[in-house]
């Protein structure tokens, strides 16, 4: 045992410069990918359950392909394939200066949609068929029936699973390392390199991710217990 931990170099200036905005970025990435991914995922789940064979096939290929390839591979693919002019088109000079960060947001949205769609599919299938018939019987269209009857229940039934997936997503954002985006982990690494103290910073990174993921999963568990009582 020969590790002398020394955190004295961690002044509030160092933290402010390296660990605050990068943390905000990781949280933003998680939030955007979770919301947009759930919306896109719901759309894909509806395609998968539709009666159109072409839509069904598209949804199945989309989900199966993204779920059989590692996230790192998908991150590399998106960064390679998104044309460099795209970033300035959507966000001007800011976009041009933050290519990896923007690419990560797009990648995670499309990648997580595959996982969220499987959850939403299970959620939609958990709603009794009779409710759809009841919706049609009172004169609702397919879209109304989905929007007003099926999806709200599917979403509520699956909320704990969706949130658990989001905790996993938060941990996975660290993989943007592959394209050098400035996320929280990168912030820890930058400080580690700056003061030649990588061991301290990796341990601190582990502690940071642990505290956030652990407290979030505890909250999810509590929510789950609450929802179970309601039903």
């Amino acid at each position: 045992m020969a590790l002398n931990l020394d955190f004295s170099f961690l002044t509030s200036d160092v933290i402010k410069a390296n660990l605050v905005s990068t943390f905000e970025y990781s949280v933003q990435l998680t939030a955007v990918a979770a919301v947009a991914g759930t919306l896109l995922g719901t759309l894909i789940a509806l395609m998968r359950l539709s009666s159109q064979p072409a839509l069904q096939r598209f949804a199945r290929v989309y989900v199966d392909l993204l779920r059989s390839v590692p996230l790192v591979m998908v991150i590399l693919w998106f960064f390679l394939l998104i044309p460099s002019g795209f970033y300035s088109t959507i966000a001007g000079s800011f976009g041009d200066a933050h290519r990896p960060e923007l690419a990560a947001v797009i990648t995670f949205t499309f990648f997580e949609a595959a996982y969220y769609s499987e959850i939403m599919r299970a959620g939609i299938q958990s709603v009794p068929r009779g409710q759809v018939f009841a919706g049609y019987a009172v004169g609702m269209t397919y879209a109304q029936c989905m929007r007003l009857v099926v999806l709200p229940q599917a979403f509520r039934n699956m909320l704990p699973v969706l949130l658990t997936q989001t905790v996993v997503l938060f941990q996975d954002t660290s993989l943007v390392y592959a394209i050098g985006a400035s996320d929280w982990l990168k912030g820890f690494q930058t400080v580690g390199n700056l003061f030649n103290r990588p061991a301290e910073m990796y341990l601190l990174a582990a502690a940071g991710y642990f505290v956030i993921s652990f407290s979030l999963s505890m909250l999810v568990r509590r929510l789950q217990a609450k929802i179970q009582i309601i039903r």
């Binding site: 590692p70 590399l76 941990q171 982990l185 990796y202």
Partner: protein, 253 residues
């Protein structure tokens, strides 16, 4: 259309080219020992991916089984240890865990400096996955009615014998399908080992991409290899599930 065909032909030629000089081998495999084509290099990377995944899976199953059983024992300390283990390895990103195995633990335990990063990646990935396996083993044992445990103990079996002959044979069979999906996950997660320079598929495709400026071609080949791995695991999972299904369970024979 002809553009695309030409591009495919170029990519195929590139894969059959030696990684050291511009020689193109018609068979796509360099004859000598000292030389190899890009295709061979990528296959080599695929081999590393599968090797790391397999070793990590063995570690994950062994450790995960022990931790999972601990979480069901009538001993508070064992349960607490098991839960702490699971939470620790589940709530830290796998990339951070591998960095700690490669760059922090060797500072604390100098013995680890002699261990290769590939070995550390296997251990790191194995322990990361052990937390998930433990969760499933625990859930599997929890599906068995409590009466079976009591019956075993009442017959005079020791606790160890009750697990060995009563609980584990049923519990493990119940969780087997989820364990095969875990082996699929471990192949995907092994890709993270590229970050500590283990020469697996991702690492190889990045290196080969840099060397040839043909990133797309290398990523494409790597993606194909990952998809083939996933399909193979999928087939294997169906087969194993059919072989081990309990005749008394729903959908049994």
């Amino acid at each position: 259309m002809s553009d695309l065909l030409a591009q495919i032909k170029d990519s195929a030629t590139l894969m059959c080219t030696s990684i050291d000089d511009p020689t193109v081998y018609p068979s796509c495999f360099a004859p000598g020992k000292g030389d190899m084509t890009y295709l061979q290099w990528m296959l080599h990377g695929w081999g590393w991916t599968l090797l790391v995944a397999l070793v990590a899976l063995v570690i994950a199953l062994g450790v995960g089984m022990v931790i999972g059983v601990m979480r069901t024992l009538p001993n508070k300390a064992a349960v607490l240890f098991g839960e702490a283990w699971s939470e620790l390895f589940r709530n830290v990103p796998v990339l951070v865990q591998l960095f700690i195995w490669a760059f922090v633990l060797p500072e604390i335990f100098p013995v680890l400096k002699q261990v290769s990063y590939a070995t550390l990646a296997c251990v790191g990935l194995g322990l990361f996955t052990s937390a998930r396996v433990a969760q499933q083993v625990k859930a599997g044992i929890a599906t068995i009615p409590k009466g079976q445990r009591y019956a075993g103990l009442a017959m005079g079996l020791t606790l160890a014998q009750t697990y060995r002959y009563v609980l584990l044979p049923v519990g493990l069979r119940v969780v087997l399908p989820t364990l095969t999906s875990e082996s699929m996950n471990i192949i995907k997660n092994s890709s993270v080992a590229y970050a500590i320079s283990v020469p697996e598929l991702i690492w190889t495709s990045i290196q080969a991409g840099e060397q040839t400026s043909a990133h797309g071609t290398m990523y494409f080949v790597a993606t194909i290899f990952y998809v083939i791995s996933a399909l193979a695991i999928n087939r294997l999972a169906v087969f194993i599930e059919r072989r081990t299904r309990l005749s008394t369970a729903m959908g049994g024979k």
